[in-house]
Amino acid sequence: MSLTLFLILCLNGLQYGLLLFLIAAGLTLVFGVMGFINLAHGVQYMVGAYLIFAFTGLTGHFGLALVLSLVTALLIGLLLEYVVFRHLYDRTHLDQVLATFGIIIFLNELAKVLFGPTTLSIATPEFLSGSIQLTEQLRYPVYRLVTIGVGLVVAAGLFLTISYTRTGMLIRAGSTTPEMVAALGVNIKQLFRIVFGVGAMLAGFAGVIAAPIFAIEPGMGDNILIVAFVVIIIGGVGSIGGAFVAAILVGLIDTLGRSLATELLSFVFNPSMANQIGPALASMLIYILMAAILVIRPKGLLPAKGVH
């Protein structure tokens, strides 16, 4: 295998990892702050992808469609919070799982009814299409590079907000002792709503930037939600830093594993054997990683302090 291929795989892995981070960040904050387990978070990713599809169709302009999609994703998140989720905060995790499962069923079916069951795709925006020369032999699509950059910027922004702003301080305090924060006169419900809306918008944003790369289809959020759970378990629930490290780790291992597992196995087994085991092993890699980390550190790599 050439170094060029390896570099491309690493960049793809990094990009996938950042995408996972955008989803896992909202999920882990919502869980860390509110103790609320939201299975429907993955659906927000799907919503984002369908929104950018619909709005680029309507406006014909990617930038405008991006803004409209983000605003709409935020509104849908807040609407769901208002109609359903706020009634579930003091319920058991089981009730939360059940109700959000119902929302997944509804929104997946709605996407199927509105846009049809087949996969859709949108073109990469004009000004970001094409590729640039990174090294002598390596050309890489501009769009993917831009998503990596944007992902890193959002991650840094999120980290700075949580660490150094007043809202971030309240979020951290709220995740440890919500009663105390409320007693000090902070409107904790408002805080919940902000965290929830931002989380939904981040997942929607992930869907928007993924839309030109992956296929848009009903149920696309379900699988990525489960990988986001793996990220959260590895990183430690409620921890933004942990989610970042774990997301990059999972993104790299998954991408490299899928491309290299068969090749590496063929050193040990004969080719036909390697061809059979390779793909199965590759899809299991991140779960094996999760199991291994659980054995070593049951609370995850960088657990948040004082999460219930």
């Binding site: 869980f31 387990i37 359903v84 009634h87 579930l88 319920r91 995790h93 089981l94 009730d95 799982v97 059940l98 109700a99 499962f101 119902g102 929302i103 997944i104 069923i105 509804f106 929104l107 997946n108 079916e109 709605l110 199927k112 009814v113 379900d222 699988n223 489960i226 759970f229 793996v230 959260i232 378990i233 629930v237 059979q276 793909p279 199965a280 899809s283 299991m284 779960y287 999760m290 199991a291 659980l294 054995v295 049951p298």
Partner: protein, 313 residues
């Protein structure tokens, strides 16, 4: 008189009479629906042992149905015909996998446990889809089915309905007996107050692991029966949405109650059948219906059928 026992007995009497009654009204096609409901009920009853009594919310239970089904299907493909041998194979494979994943998952509790079982379930699902030799994503049609020492009593044209009914009865009775035994009480103690149970000298992790494995074994058996009934197996039976359906059945029926999982499973299958006969996009109604049931019907179906004095059974 214990009303839940009466209701349970009534349900089983109805199920026993159905193969005679349905042809009289020309509704034999409903037999398939009943089998579907019974298979779901077997798995739901097993899940209730760990969710209802053990307080361990597993969101990967359908994976064990898949493991059991694939163990049986692969056994059949390799020429094993005897259902008892296949049963043994199913139990060994399902039990082994449950022991490993359970031991790892039980290092955590609460919502971590939920996410980990979900992740392991998904891992099993993807492993099944990558079994290219056995149909991969598309699944596998089975041309030869298991026999009971050469008799077709365990096949659709024989008495598979009654075999499944018998397994359902044994699961229902067995899980209830387990829950009333000393083992079941320790399990509930570990659910309600793990520290105290631990201090009293019970190795609760071991109890929980045993319960987890028992539940997986029962789910595996329902997978074996599913293969016999459908004469087909595909990874979709292990998808995480199926695990979600099982949780819906358990919670809607009533957690940790004698008939809860049974009622819940039949409720789901009937509602799905009714809604889908009215509107093709029935999930648009089913999803919000679930949300409403969670928000407004707290105790589950079992609550509606149980007088206040007997609540909590």
């Amino acid at each position: 008189m214990d009303r839940s026992l009466v209701i349970g007995a009534l349900i089983f009497a109805c199920l026993l009479a159905m193969p005679v009654l349905l042809p009289l009204v020309g509704a034999e096609y409903l037999t398939g629906l009943l089998i579907k409901a019974m298979l779901l009920a077997i798995a739901a009853i097993s899940l209730d042992l760990i969710i209802g009594h053990g307080g361990m919310v597993s969101l990967g239970h359908a994976a064990f149905i898949g493991v059991g089904a694939y163990a049986a299907a692969i056994g059949l493909e390799s020429g094993i015909e005897n259902i008892l041998v296949l049963l043994l194979l199913t139990l060994v494979v399902t039990g082994g996998i449950a022991l490993i994943t359970g031991a790892l998952a039980l290092r955590t509790t609460g919502v971590y446990f939920l996410m980990i079982t979900l992740a392991f379930g998904q891992m099993i699902y993807f492993t099944l889809t990558s079994l290219a030799a056995y149909g991969g994503d598309d699944g596998l049609t089975l041309w030869s089915l298991a026999t009971f020492f050469g008799s077709d009593i365990v096949q659709n044209r024989g008495g598979l309905y009654f075999v499944i009914l018998a397994v359902l009865f044994l699961s229902w009775f067995g899980v209830y007996r387990i829950s009333q035994s000393r083992f079941g009480r320790v399990l509930r103690a570990a659910r309600d107050n793990p520290q105290r149970a631990e201090v009293m000298g019970y190795p609760i992790a071991r109890y929980q692991l045993i319960a987890y494995v028992i539940a997986a074994l029962i789910a595996g058996i329902s997978g074996l029966l599913l293969v016999q009934h459908a004469e087909f197996v595909s990874p979709s039976i292990a998808a995480w949405q199926r695990s979600g359906d099982l949780i819906v059945a358990v919670v809607l029926g009533g957690l940790g109650t004698r008939n809860g999982a049974l009622l819940g499973a039949f409720f789901i299958v009937i509602v799905e059948e009714l809604l889908s006969s009215v509107i093709h996009e029935w999930r648009l109604i089913y999803g919000p219906l679930l949300v409403l049931l969670v928000l407004y019907a707290k105790g589950g179906l079992n609550d509606l059928l149980t007088p206040a004095a007997q609540k909590g059974r």
